[in-house]
Symmetry: C2
C-alpha cells in the first residue's frame, strides 16, 4: 500500500491522481491533501478520501471546512492552511509519495520540503524544475530518492531512459504538438486572438498552459525541466514537432538507437507510472496500435516561436534567468488573456525581462521566490509600457 | 576485450560483424571463423584477422586454404572443415561471444553447442529459433546466458523490453515493411514475376529472404522467433505494416505504455548492440531525427499474405510444424525462383506440407534435422505436383 499526499488535489492533476487511486483501492491510500480555495471540492474530497490532514490556501476556507467536516462527523480530519499547511501535508510522517501539482511558485517550498523529508516526489508542477530545479534535484540526489516526472513528455523520457545508462544517452527529443498556429503564416501572428490561442488541437488544459502551448513556451519550459531532471545540457535536449502527440518523447543513445514512448493522451497514465515505479501495473488505458495510420513530424520554427529560443537561452544561463523566464511568461500571458498585449508581445515582454535579469545560481527557495517577485514586477512594467504604445484594447498589434 | 567467433563469416552478417570489429579494435578480437565455400573470401579474412581457427564447409576447400596460408607464413592458423569444424569454431575455449549467422539448418548444431558451452550467442540465423527455438532457448536458460538477437526487429524488441519486467509485457509489435506487393491488388498476385518479387523497397538482402519478405513469410518467421526468444504466446506477438521501416519494433506494457525503437537500417547497429550488451558504445550510425517527416502504418492483409497466417498456425502448434514451415518455405521459394511454381503457390505448397506434418515437441537437434529433411522431401513432391498441374515454365498461374 503506497501512502500518498497530493499537493493541488482539486486541480486537474490532483483529480486525475484521485481517479487513479480510485481504480486501485488495494494499492494506494490517500493520506493527506492540499486543496486550493475550492471549498466545495475540498469538502467532497475530504468526505470521500478521509485524509489524515487537508490543507486549504486561506485560513477562512480552512475554518469553514473544519466546521462543515465536524458537522458531518468527520472532525478527526485535521484541517490546516497556507504555506505551512501545505508543508505539513507534504511532509506528513505517514506519507511515502508526494504528488506535486500546485500550479505556480506556491508549490515550491512544500515540494522542496517533501524531498528534504525523504519522500518520493512525482512532479507535475513546472516551477519546481524551471525555477528551482537545481535546488530540488540536488536535494533529491542527496536523499537518494527518485524524482518522477508526471507529464507526458518527461514521463516518456523517463521510460525510454530505461534502455541504457545515463552516460549512454546522446540526446533527448521532446515532441511538441506544435499548437494551434503550427501552420499559421508568421505574418498573421500579430493579429492572433485570445480565442484562437485557447483552441489547442490535442490537449484540454488550463488557460495559461494552453497559451504557453500556442507560443511553444510550454515546450521551452519542458526543455529546461528535462535539463534539470535528467542532468543534460540544453544542447542535448531537442524539440521536434509531432502533431498527433502519439510519440510522447524519445531518447537517443550513443550507439545510434532511439527509444520512443507511445501511449494514449491521458494524464492518468504518467501518474500511474510514477505511483508504481519501478513496477508497471495493468490499466485500461490501451493505445490501439492496430489503428495507427500516419505520424507526422517537422522541426520547430524558432522565428515564428521565439519563446522556444528564449527558453534555450535561459536554460544556458541557468539560475535566476529561468526563474525570470517563468515569471515574465506568466505575467505576459495574463496580459495577453486580458487583451492588454498582443500575441507577439508575449516573447517581447519576456525577452525584455531576461535582458534585465542577472544569471547566476540561487542558493535557496527563498532566493528563488525573491527573484520570481522581482521578475514579475519588471514584467508588469514592460506590459504597461507596451499598453502605452498600443493602447489598452487594440484588436491588432504591430 | 570481447573474444568473438563468427559462424558464417563470409555472409552478409559475418562481413558486417567484421566491419564492426574493425571499427573498435580495442574492444573486439576475432578468435575463430566459420566460412562457407568462398575460398578467396576465407583466405582474405584469415590473413586480415589471424584467427586461431577457421573452418570451411568442404574438406577440399580447407586443404586449399591451409596450403595457401602456409605459403603466406600463416601456418599457425588451424584450418578445419565441415559440421565438426563449425562446432570447433563455435565452442573454442578462448571465445566469449558467438555470432550465429550461417544461413539454413547447417548452423543449428554449432549454435546449440555454443550455447551448451556457456558462450553468449548473438542470433542472426533464423532457423535457430524457428526450427530449434525450444531447445536452444531452454539450453540458454539452463546456462544462465543471454541469447541476443541480431536482426533489426528482435533487437529492437530486446531494447524496448528494458523498459519493464517480462511479466509486465502485454504485447510485442513487430513492424513489417510490407514488401513490394503491399499495394498490389490481390487479383494481380498470381502473375507476380520473380523479378518483381526480388525488388524489395527497403532492405537489400539475399534472394530467399527477399521473397520471404514479399510473401510476409519472413515476418511470420519473426513472429515465431519472438515467441521463442521472449517466451510469448503467438497471440501476444502482433504484426503492423510500417513501410518506412523507421520504427523497427515495439513493446506494449500492461500499463498501456508502448516503447518503440528507431534507428538507421544498418545491420551493424544490432550487431554492435549485441556485442556490447548490456553496455552501449558510441557509433557513427546516427538516425537524423530532425529529418523525420512521415511514418505510415496499416494492418497486414492475411488474405493477400496467407504465409503470415500459416506462420501463426505453426507457432501455435509448435515443434515439428515450425520446422516444416521453414523447410517447406525454402523449397517453395526455390521453386518459385527457378520459375517452377507461381507466387500464390508458395503458401499452397507450405500449407500442404503443414497439413501432413504432426505437431509435437522435437527433443534434440538430430530430431529437428530429421523433421527438416522429411518436410523438404514432402515439399519437393508438392512442388512437383503443382508443376504437373501448371506446366514447367508458365508465366502466369491460376
Amino acid at each position: 500500500m503506497k501512502r500518498i499526499a497530493i499537493l493541488g488535489s482539486t486541480g486537474s492533476i490532483g483529480r486525475s491522481t484521485l481517479s487513479v487511486a480510485e481504480s486501485y483501492p488495494d494499492r494506494f491510500q490517500i493520506v493527506t491533501l492540499a486543496a486550493g480555495s475550492n471549498l466545495e471540492a475540498a469538502f467532497e474530497q475530504a468526505s470521500r478520501w478521509r485524509p489524515r490532514v487537508i490543507s486549504m490556501a486561506l485560513e477562512k476556507d480552512a475554518d469553514a471546512l473544519r466546521t462543515r467536516l465536524k458537522k458531518e462527523g468527520l472532525g478527526e480530519i485535521e484541517v490546516v492552511h497556507g504555506a505551512a499547511g501545505t508543508v505539513r501535508v507534504a511532509t506528513h510522517a505517514e506519507v511515502d509519495f508526494v504528488v506535486s501539482a500546485i500550479v505556480g511558485v506556491a508549490g515550491l517550498e512544500a515540494t522542496f520540503e517533501a524531498v528534504r523529508a525523504g519522500k518520493v516526489v512525482g512532479l507535475a508542477n513546472k516551477e519546481c524544475l524551471v525555477a528551482a530545479g537545481e535546488l530540488i534535484t540536488a536535494e533529491a540526489r542527496k536523499q537518494g530518492k527518485p524524482l518522477l516526472p508526471i507529464d507526458s513528455e518527461h514521463n516518456a523520457v523517463h521510460q525510454c531512459l530505461r534502455g541504457g545508462r545515463m552516460d549512454e544517452v546522446s540526446r533527448i527529443w521532446l515532441t511538441a504538438s506544435g499548437g494551434p498556429f503550427l501552420n499559421t503564416p508568421h505574418s498573421d501572428f500579430a493579429s492572433i486572438t485570445v480565442e484562437q490561442a485557447l483552441n489547442h488541437p490535442t490537449w484540454k488544459m488550463g488557460r495559461r498552459i494552453t497559451i504557453d502551448s500556442a507560443t511553444l513556451m510550454n515546450k521551452g519550459f519542458e526543455v529546461i525541466e528535462a535539463c534539470r531532471l535528467f542532468h543534460m545540457p540544453p544542447a542535448k535536449v531537442e524539440v521536434i514537432v509531432h502533431q498527433q502527440s502519439t510519440i510522447h518523447s524519445m531518447v537517443e543513445f550513443v550507439d545510434g538507437s532511439i527509444l520512443a514512448q507511445v501511449s494514449v493522451t491521458d494524464m492518468r497514465l504518467p501518474i500511474l507510472y510514477a505511483l508504481t515505479y519501478p513496477e508497471r501495473i495493468a490499466s485500461d488505458m490501451r493505445f490501439a496500435v492496430s489503428d495507427l495510420r500516419h505520424l507526422d513530424f517537422c522541426p520547430p520554427d524558432l522565428t515564428k516561436f521565439p519563446c522556444l529560443r528564449l527558453a534555450y537561452e535561459a536554460a544556458e544561463a541557468g539560475g535566476a534567468r529561468t526563474v525570470a523566464l517563468n515569471a515574465a511568461d506568466e505575467v505576459a500571458v495574463a496580459a495577453f488573456l486580458e487583451g492588454s498585449i498582443g500575441f507577439n508581445d508575449i516573447p517581447r515582454v519576456i525577452e525584455d525581462v531576461l535582458t534585465e535579469t542577472n544569471s547566476g545560481h540561487l542558493e535557496s527557495i527563498g532566493k528563488v521566490l525573491e527573484a520570481d517577485a522581482e521578475a514579475r514586477q519588471l514584467a508588469q512594467q514592460r506590459v504597461a509600457d507596451r499598453k502605452k504604445i498600443h493602447g489598452p484594447r487594440a484588436t491588432s498589434f504591430a
